[in-house]
Symmetry: C2
Subunit: 369 residues, 2 copies
């Protein structure tokens, strides 16, 4: 990946520097341009945060296509791209622009982020050659620049503060939904633009659902409560899970918690530039295996974090992505025992020159509330 | 559309009745089955609300493919479909199932809701024939059944109540973000699972941005404030806009407001079974034209509403969709004058046998706060 400092962190900041880095990679793709359809990628490359757009990045210019709802917003947000307000559909406007390019003009695109219908319309309308984008923007995005890190640090700090302020509210006879509402409200009071995903509050046996939506179930004494929450600030996400116990925890709950905490520590210790994403996952899984708990760990160890709450790299068993300085990752092992409950501990970390640093500051001890 | 009562409203409720209605339409598509990839369509047809799934609806059975995060949730939520927990990817599991079907087995799919990459994987793995789904599920969803209407009515009532409770907070020196936070918190306090989209609060000149995100800008005296908000309850959405004025409004603001209100009334009066979506849009636009304001009305008049905040039909100028009893629509004309500000009024209505009924109960008068 070009455009990085020796240690990996992106040195020049902001949409225009990112577009410059992207342009340097177009030849490797065998492309003259990239048609960007994934909104977070568009935001990354030109600053536009609206909900409908296409961005065409060519060697010497970029063009943002959006619709009339976003005329003023685009003017305020966009840097390094011309703005085209499409009157008859964004896709059609982009098609018309591409039709004006020379024969054989090569356009890279993401097969993951373009629908079959969109591709058909573009193919029918513009006589260009389509090539795979190789997730080039997602790969650039995996290594954060300083401007991005400022926001991600804020987002991680904010959700840690929210958790600390929420602790007194985690008590019997509060509903999961009420607790989620308080957390999401506090994110906004704290300056965030909102939660980075629908807050997960899962208590008692429901804590064994790794992705449970909060319900009107009341929290009860002697239950585990999994709280998985994140904040968005400046467009950037945090993602943090804590598991607490209402009242005194059983020896079994304590030992499960310790096993998950050890697994998280093992995962973090495996993080360094040069290690692979798979190394981290295997380290966490191996740690749980020492107490025969690995079969209850039913998801991957973590994921990248930035403009999206799930981005590259995925910390899965067989992921070969090599970690670089400046990547931001979640480390979130968990165990889920049907009938008993679940425990997950999740922090956000940044990959440093020698290892990783925690961005999440909330306490990691097993809290008996 | 089959499976409707004489008046149009879907009579039998719930996922299994919906799947039955869908199965009756498979022959019209020239299909033996439908592979559903759009999550709201999956929820509609089998009740599953997780974030990763495919649903294969065949003539005599349905199969839901999801991953291990959702084992317990799927068991609790799904009706009328077998559950397959995919160990190596949902797409791969679906491909394997399709590979087991007879030669020439025809699978309908949505080109809009399937990515080029997903389609490629499915095509490579399963030797079946692919046919267009003609938005068959979206068309079924446009006409609500009684169970859905109960939730949509609740969602519309909830957001109306939230707006009434929010009124005392709409005052100078409150930030747009704080106001949005209070609204979203109150949605949850009122029993909603959350906002149906990121609440729009746009004050002063920013009110001319039809889709403005709330910012840290303070509300000021003598400003217009556009509040566009919606709630989700039981999975169903409401969507409502009100525009208020801080302090005494100018004659110009008042006359603009009245023009938008008249346009909304004209739009509602055009709604009845047999009218087209385009008729409604043209009626609202014609009303604004009488005061030369139609060129400031830069979006369509409304859209369907249900499990998604934007669904079929779109109330756009040249939309030919014929309205039926049981459809739920927003009616939301607006005018946006750069430098001056914007005004939008939006209600949710249900199409009745003779016209439409308001679901939104919040006051529509021009409030000077």
């Amino acid at each position: 990946m070009t455009g990085k400092s020796a240690e990996g962190t992106q040195t020049r900041c902001g949409p225009e520097a990112r577009s410059t880095r992207l342009r340097a990679l177009l030849s490797d793709l065998g492309a003259d341009s990239l048609l960007v359809s994934h909104l977070p990628n568009i935001r990354y490359l030109c600053g536009f945060s609206g909900s409908a757009a296409l961005l065409l990045v060519e060697r010497s210019k970029s063009t943002l296509f959006t619709d009339s709802r976003y005329t003023f917003q685009a003017r305020e947000e966009v840097s390094g791209a011309q703005i085209r307000i499409a009157k008859k559909g964004i896709l059609r406007a982009a098609t018309e622009t591409l039709r004006g390019r020379r024969r054989g003009f090569r356009v890279a695109y993401s097969a993951t982020h373009m629908s079959v219908a969109e591709k058909r319309l573009l193919e029918a309308g513009a006589g260009v050659r389509w090539v795979a984008d190789g997730n080039v923007v997602e790969k650039l995005r995996a290594v954060k620049d300083e401007e991005e890190l400022i926001w991600i640090r804020k987002a991680a700090l904010l959700i840690s503060d929210v958790f600390r302020r929420t602790l007194p509210l985690i008590r019997p006879d509060v509903t999961e939904l009420d607790l989620a509402a308080e957390i999401e409200h506090d994110i906004k009071r704290g300056g965030g633009s909102g939660p980075s995903f629908e807050t997960i509050i899962a208590s008692g046996p429901r804590s064994a659902w790794a992705h449970a939506r909060p319900t009107s179930k009341l929290l009860r004494k002697s239950e585990l409560v999994v709280l998985d929450q994140g904040a968005i600030i400046g467009g950037y996400c945090s993602d943090m899970t804590r598991t607490v116990h209402l009242g005194r925890a059983s020896a079994r709950a304590k030992s499960l918690y310790q096993a998950v905490r050890d697994a998280q520590q093992a995962g973090k210790q495996a993080i360094r530039p040069g290690a692979t994403a798979g190394d981290v996952d295997r380290a966490a899984r191996a740690s749980l295996k020492t107490s025969q708990l690995d079969r209850y760990f039913t998801h991957s160890t973590g994921h990248g974090l930035g403009l999206e709450v799930h981005e590259m790299p995925r910390l899965g068993k067989s992921e070969a992505t090599v970690l670089c300085k400046g990547m931001v990752l979640t480390v979130e092992p968990g165990v889920y025992l049907e009938g008993f409950g679940g425990i997950r501990i999740e922090d956000d970390v940044i990959v440093t020159a020698n290892g990783c640093d925690d961005l999440t500051t909330a306490p990691r001890d097993f809290l008996e509330l």
